[in-house]
């Protein structure tokens, strides 16, 4: 029984850690319409898994490196002939495909592909927990430090320039934060559902927020609620943990949208 408690607690801590940093970062993803950007970064990370295993480095380092490479590639290619959504679609799916093919070349290593695609939060160990919380703390610190500049650059690049802020540097800060979140969240929700942890709590927080700060705080709360509640659901119903977390987040989003609609009706 103690063992059971222990892995559930570790899983809950991992989920809370990811939700805490993913939600405020997710707000920027929503505000800047970068949803596909998050997807592309996440999908590229399966390639990082394959590379990490074949070169025998830590999966975290491999994923972080490919996620960063992906994000900077997209930033560099943006506005050079292809529409952003086309570019992201090409890069996201081809990097996922290359990653899957690369994994199949790995000989002698049997890796559980499903664990990387959908996460394996129940297998989170102490070391994983340290990586997750360390990474998330770094992301939160980064966002805290650049908050005002990031918001200004999100509003309008020229406005940022006039205030002495370089919008490309702020974009870079977000890119790095995104790569970090992807790298640490891969264990918790997996490659395919990371974007959901970024977007859904942020979107669900919108109807209840009057300022950006409040939206980020509410998103973090909803994200943590989804993580812990989803784990309990998974345990009670014997369903996969990562998807259960996202399902609960989606249910919260639906509820919040309905509430927002009703509030709007009454006010309008």
């Amino acid at each position: 029984m103690t063992f059971l408690d222990d892995f559930l607690i570790r899983a809950a801590l991992a989920g809370i850690g990811v939700a805490l940093a993913a939600a405020p970062l997710g707000c920027f993803v929503v505000w800047r319409r970068m949803a596909y950007f998050g997807d592309a970064t996440a999908h590229a990370s399966i390639l990082g898994v394959a590379l990490a295993l074949s070169f025998d480095v830590s999966v975290f380092a491999g994923v972080l490196a490919t996620a960063l490479a992906m994000a900077t590639t997209v930033s560099a290619l943006a506005g050079r002939g292809y529409a952003m959504d086309t570019l992201l679609g090409v890069l996201a799916h081809s990097s996922l495909a290359f990653g899957l093919v690369a994994v199949s070349f790995l000989q002698g290593v049997r890796i559980d592909l499903m664990a990387y695609l959908f996460g394996d939060i129940l297998a989170v160990g102490r070391a994983d927990l340290a990586v997750i919380w360390g990474g998330e703390a770094l992301v939160l610190a980064l966002l805290w430090w650049r908050w005002s500049a990031l918001l200004t650059a999100t509003l309008n690049p020229d406005l940022a320039h006039a205030a002495g802020i370089d919008p490309r540097r702020e974009q870079m800060v977000l890119t790095i934060a995104l790569a970090l979140v992807v790298a640490v969240a891969i264990k918790v929700v997996g490659v395919l559902l990371i974007a959901a942890m970024l977007l859904i709590p942020a979107a669900a927080a919108r109807p209840f927020a009057a300022t950006p700060e409040r939206m980020a705080a509410i998103a973090a709360l909803l994200g943590m609620l989804s993580a812990t509640g989803g784990l309990q659901l998974a345990f009670a119903l014997d369903t996969p943990a990562g998807p259960s977390i996202v399902c609960l987040a989606a249910a919260l989003f639906a509820a919040s949208s309905l509430t927002g609609l009703l509030l709007h009706r009454r006010r309008g």
Binding site: R32, S148, A163
Partner: protein, 263 residues
């Protein structure tokens, strides 16, 4: 560093020297030189694609010059009112919070700037719920927060009706009197904006002509760009008719420019 008389070097807020800007393969601005002195209202007019916005973006440092230099007075405080600002409806933002970006300002200072911009009652409103005119006044208030020496407005009245934009420019004039700041603005509403200016710069990739509004309005280069109708409109406006007219004056109606494209 070229030798300039001490007084002149201290005086000019902005000095563009032989500025050229390229976008991709296109030369948008070539050989533009101009200075802005404290307290003057300078208006840049020109047809679409003449490089007006690029000029302003160069002044605030958002656009790297291909050639030439942009010199700002040391410690110059610039208040910038962008052309338009799309605020995504997913971003919750009150007017008060918007004023504290990126630098936090006190409630008293925010209230003062909103009052100066004629937006005194808007502090608690959401940015995405403002009308066009209210939005512009909030942008103006934000630009006034830093107590600017130079106020830069890029097509600030786009989307406002004529009485609305006339009122906005009257407010700019009032702000100039109160703060003593210089104003650099771009507009295609010639008749409104020229009447309120000390100096007009007619731009079409390069400076075609510049000077007092009356001088520019009668210059052949200007007429070639905008037709002759605008002079009448200017005169009309000078007589303080600021209610709405059905103006038929030409807004850069596709006259070819007589100059060769300067290289």
């Amino acid at each position: 560093m070229p030798q300039m008389p001490e007084s002149r070097r201290r005086m000019s807020l902005i000095a563009l020297n032989n500025l050229s800007v390229r976008h991709g393969g296109n030369t948008v601005l070539s050989g533009v030189s101009l200075t802005i002195e404290p307290g003057e209202i300078v208006t840049v007019v020109g047809p679409n694609g003449s490089g007006k916005s690029t000029l302003l973006r160069s002044v605030i440092g958002a656009q790297k010059p291909a050639r030439g230099t942009v010199t700002r007075a040391p410690g110059l405080r610039i208040g910038y009112v962008p052309q338009k600002l799309h605020i995504d409806p997913t971003l919750p933002l009150t007017v008060r919070r918007f004023l504290s970006l990126p630098q936090r300002v006190s409630d008293a200072r925010a209230a003062e700037a909103l009052e100066q911009a004629g937006a005194g009652d808007l502090a608690a409103r959401q940015m995405s719920g403002l009308s066009g005119g209210q939005f512009q006044r909030v942008l103006l208030a934000r630009a006034l927060l830093c107590n600017p020496q130079l106020l830069i407005l890029d097509e600030a009245t786009q989307g406002l009706d004529q009485p609305g934009s006339a009122a906005f420019y009257q407010r700019i004039e009032k702000v100039r009197q109160e703060l003593g700041c210089a104003v650099l603005m771009v507009s295609h509403e010639l008749h409104v904006v020229m009447a309120a200016s000390d100096r007009v710069i007619c731009l079409n990739g390069h400076v075609c002509c510049e000077g007092a509004p009356e001088h520019v309005a009668s210059a052949p280069e200007y007429r070639a760009l905008f037709g002759t109708g605008t002079q009448g409109a200017l005169a009309l406006y000078r007589h303080e008719h600021n209610h709405s007219h059905d103006h038929d004056c030409a807004h850069g109606n596709g006259h070819d420019h007589p100059h060769e494209a300067a290289e």
